[in-house]
């Protein structure tokens, strides 16, 4: 069974209906698309090299040449924000993808199989989620070493238990439903029952969680790099930029903090609003 075949199981999205029912989420989706597009096109459209310093033009306020001003080394803030969008989005997407795939796999298995393995996994998940997540992420990056890859792994690990939990409970709730039993009677193997029957039916819930989670992952990555963990120095990243800019706030150089901070806020807000909208839309009670 191919992936495309798998995707056709879903009812074709009706964009008009989405906009009418969830105008806020549609707006958030448009905003996110714009941010993603800017990030993708960053190398083509950024007016300056985000790494090139130009000390004579340091700390210039926003003007026609430098839309978002320049930082203490004369680097163009707008170009750096575009480059940072690329980095932050890819960190968030890869971290969420890793935890989603791993978590849903483990969760589906536990939820379907039940028994002692499920109970043991459940307790491990409880222990993992009992830690303060951000502190755990800090500890993980500190132990694994300061690199972007490790930042991704740390973010993935702290999200992992939530996907296990959601997938497990969604699968366990459906395991004994009529259409699953009917699949057994139709001679369907357990693997196929999970992949072709249960997974497509729990995917909406997972997608909502992932959307909300993406915003959180960006915040997490920015937070860690704000503290100097994960991102090596010259690399542009929103958290790092806010951290650097904070030094110049007192002397009135607001553009160093406001623009990256604003981008961070808008992106996370968009992810959250989109997640809320999707949740309302996919809730069977609101379905016509």
């Amino acid at each position: 069974m191919t992936m495309t075949d798998f995707m056709t199981r879903f009812r074709r999205p009706d964009i008009g209906r989405f906009v009418r029912r969830q105008p806020v989420a549609a707006l958030a989706f448009a905003g996110l698309s714009a941010i993603v597009l800017l990030a993708l096109l960053a190398p083509l459209i950024s007016p300056y090299d985000p790494l090139a310093s130009d000390v004579p033009h340091a700390l210039l306020p926003p003007d026609r040449l430098h839309w978002f001003g320049t930082d203490e080394l004369g680097r163009d803030v707008f170009s750096r924000i575009l480059a940072a969008a690329r980095l932050d989005l890819s960190i968030a997407v890869s971290a969420v993808a890793i935890s989603l795939v791993a978590g849903v796999t483990v969760g589906c298995f536990c939820g379907y199989q039940g028994g002692w393995l499920d109970r043991v996994t459940g307790r491990i998940v409880d222990v993992l989620t009992a830690f303060p997540l951000f502190v755990m992420a800090m500890a993980l990056v500190a132990v694994l070493g300061n690199s972007i890859a490790n930042l991704i792994y740390a973010t993935a690990i702290i999200n992992f238990p939530f996907y296990i939990r959601i997938a497990r409970s969604e699968v366990a709730a459906r395991r004994n439903l009529g259409w699953v039993e009917a699949a057994h009677v139709s001679g369907t193997s357990p693997t196929r029952v999970v992949l072709m029957f249960l997974l497509p039916n729990i995917l909406p819930t997972i997608v909502v969680q992932a959307s909300l989670n993406l915003g959180w992952a960006i915040l997490n990555a920015a937070g860690l790099s704000f503290l100097g963990l994960g991102i090596p120095v010259p690399t542009p990243e929103w958290g790092v930029m806010v951290a650097n800019g904070a030094h110049f706030m007192s002397s009135g150089r607001w553009w160093l903090v406001v623009f990256p901070g604003g981008m961070l806020m808008v992106t996370i807000l968009c992810f959250n609003l989109l997640g809320d909208g999707l949740r309302d839309l996919l809730d069977p009670r609101t379905r016509s």
């Binding site: 009529g178 139709s186 001679g187």
Partner: protein, 536 residues
């Protein structure tokens, strides 16, 4: 003529959403008098519940009354039922008694709330009132019930409590919306007898909303048959059911299984008698025990011969569904043997049975037809799936042709095949479920209350369909049901189960004519009579 307690005239109700406007009641007129029961009978979607809810002022937000009037004790209450009337004037008994009670509070507290909400009483007065109520609804161990939480009581007791709540404030009118759905025949009889007695004793009026013609016939003084938001016929039960004037009523009456009704295939009996020496299915002292030591199925043995239909009758909790799942190898028995065509199949664990060659020979039709279809599969996908899994798969065009032919044989048109479960009616879902089971040409079809969720007319069609398929394809059926009349219509032999044990087994005709056990006799007696004159 005295003034009626409740009179509804030309009531019109519409459901309005963003862009749609749907009229659900088109001018309903009826009246209820003190001490009398009016039954509102109709299929799902006929508007009978909406009529009840409108009277109570409990319409959902998107529904509006667009015309007509409701007068209660001579007072106009359309659209704005005063709070003081709810409970004290008009009370409601809901469908699911357990859901109508707050699970986290004791019965005593919930009943006290209702009593206090309509007048100040002191502690002693409250206790006296509670005791009196318990007595009225015939609960003998009042103290235990009052101190219990809803989950500690049986469904029947919960329904009594709900009735007690309804009568707590001495209402003049009770609206009972399918008050016994989900209750067993015996419990149903007790609850209905109680409601009828209270109506007579307290000189209240009652509206009984039901889809069960037998119940309407036995417990009402007046019947109104509803269809598409209109009352198509009304009259006394005797007149209405003996000689219905309206075509629709006539259809309903004909479709209702009674002690004497037959399926339109009398010649089928010829095929039934062809007894063969080797039974198709043989179950020997089968036991299913749960972890807490509860025996759901206890030492049950029976055989099904090729081409035979065996009925399995029991109330909820009698183990009939467990037996159907054991035989279809969805769960493993703790003891005993299941032989299919002489080969033991209980030795193959349930999770590996999907690979067994007998899988395609034993198929299952589920009780909740809509719930047994994958919500993300079209009807076509659902029907074709067993064939793709267990083969043999004809190639290309032939596959589609086979699915269409099978769908056609269960009365589904080709364009239905592209629909998803939520786009189909209950009857259509049931047909998809049957098509899915028969497409692999099984020898044994296990039917777990396949018509329990269907309206009377649809049930009659599905039963006729099952009988025809059995005749055409020579399948054997294990037919599980709580409805004795339905079993008698379809089956040659039947087994009566109680608490996991067989209390009676034999030919249907014999069981119905002269039941051997007291339990069977009381079951037969408890079925609401359809025609009061005829004996069961």
């Amino acid at each position: 003529m005295t003034k009626p307690l409740l009179s509804i005239r030309d009531l019109r109700v519409s459901f309005v959403s963003d862009r749609t406007h749907k009229d659900v009641l088109h001018g309903v007129s009826l009246s209820v008098e003190r001490g009398k029961v009016l039954a509102l009978v109709g299929e799902s979607g006929s508007g009978k519940s909406v009529t009840g809810l409108t009277t109570m002022g409990l319409l959902p937000r998107q529904a509006t009354v667009t015309g007509g009037s409701i007068r209660f004790r001579g007072e106009e209450i359309t659209g704005h039922v005063p709070r003081s009337l709810r409970g004290a004037g008009i009370a409601m008994v809901f469908q699911n008694p357990r859901a109508a009670l707050n699970p986290t509070r004791r019965i005593r507290d919930q009943l006290s709330d209702v009593i206090r909400a309509h007048g100040k009483v002191d502690r002693a007065g409250l206790q006296a009132r509670l005791t009196e109520l318990m007595h009225q609804v015939s609960i003998t161990d009042a103290t235990r019930c009052l101190n219990a939480y809803p989950h500690q009581l049986s469904g029947g007791l919960c329904q009594r409590i709900v009735i007690a709540m309804a009568v707590a404030c001495s209402p003049d009118l009770i609206i009972a919306d399918e008050p016994t759905t989900g209750l067993d025949v015996l419990t149903q009889k007790a609850a209905m007898d109680l409601l009828l007695r209270l109506t007579r004793e307290r000189d209240m009026g009652m509206i009984l909303v039901t889809h069960d013609l037998g119940m309407a016939a036995q417990y009402s003084d007046d019947v109104a048959v509803m269809r598409h938001g209109k009352i198509v016929e009304r009259g006394t039960p005797e007149a209405l059911f003996r000689s219905p004037r309206n075509d629709y009523t006539r259809q309903l009456v004909a479709a209702c299984p009674t002690a004497t009704s037959l399926l339109e295939a009398p010649e089928a009996t010829v095929a039934r008698q062809a007894a063969e020496p080797v039974p198709l299915l043989e179950v020997r002292s089968m036991v299913k025990e749960y972890q807490n030591g509860f025996r759901a199925v206890d030492d049950v043995s029976f055989v099904i011969r090729p081409g035979e239909c065996l009925g399995l009758i029991g109330e909820s909790g009698s183990g009939k569904s467990t037996i159907s799942r054991l035989v279809s190898r969805l769960v493993d028995p703790e003891g005993g043997e299941i032989l299919f065509n002489g080969t033991p199949i209980s030795t193959i664990p349930a999770e590996a049975f999907y690979r067994a060659s007998q899988r395609r020979q034993i198929q299952f039709v589920f009780q909740d037809a809509a719930g047994s279809l994958n919500p993300r599969y079209t009807a076509y996908r659902s029907i074709v799936d067993p064939l793709l899994r267990m083969g043999p798969v004809p190639d290309g065009e032939a596959l589609r042709a086979l699915v269409v032919r099978t769908a056609c044989s269960v009365g589904l048109s080709e364009e239905m095949l592209e629909r998803y479960p939520h786009q189909m009616s209950g009857g259509q879902c049931a047909r998809v479920g049957i098509a899915r089971a028969i497409i692999v040409s099984p020898d044994l079809l296990i039917l777990d209350e396949p018509t329990a969720a269907l309206d009377v007319l649809v049930q009659a069609e599905v039963l006729a369909l099952l009988e025809r398929l059995r005749r055409e394809r020579g399948m054997s059926y294990l037919f599980v049901s709580h409805d004795l009349h339905v079993v008698r219509m379809l089956c040659d032999r039947a087994i009566i189960l109680r608490r996991g044990r067989i209390v009676e087994a034999g030919r249907c005709d014999d069981i119905f004519r002269a039941p051997q056990s007291d339990y069977t006799a009381s079951l037969l007696e408890a079925i609401p009579h359809f025609s009061p004159g005829a004996s069961v």
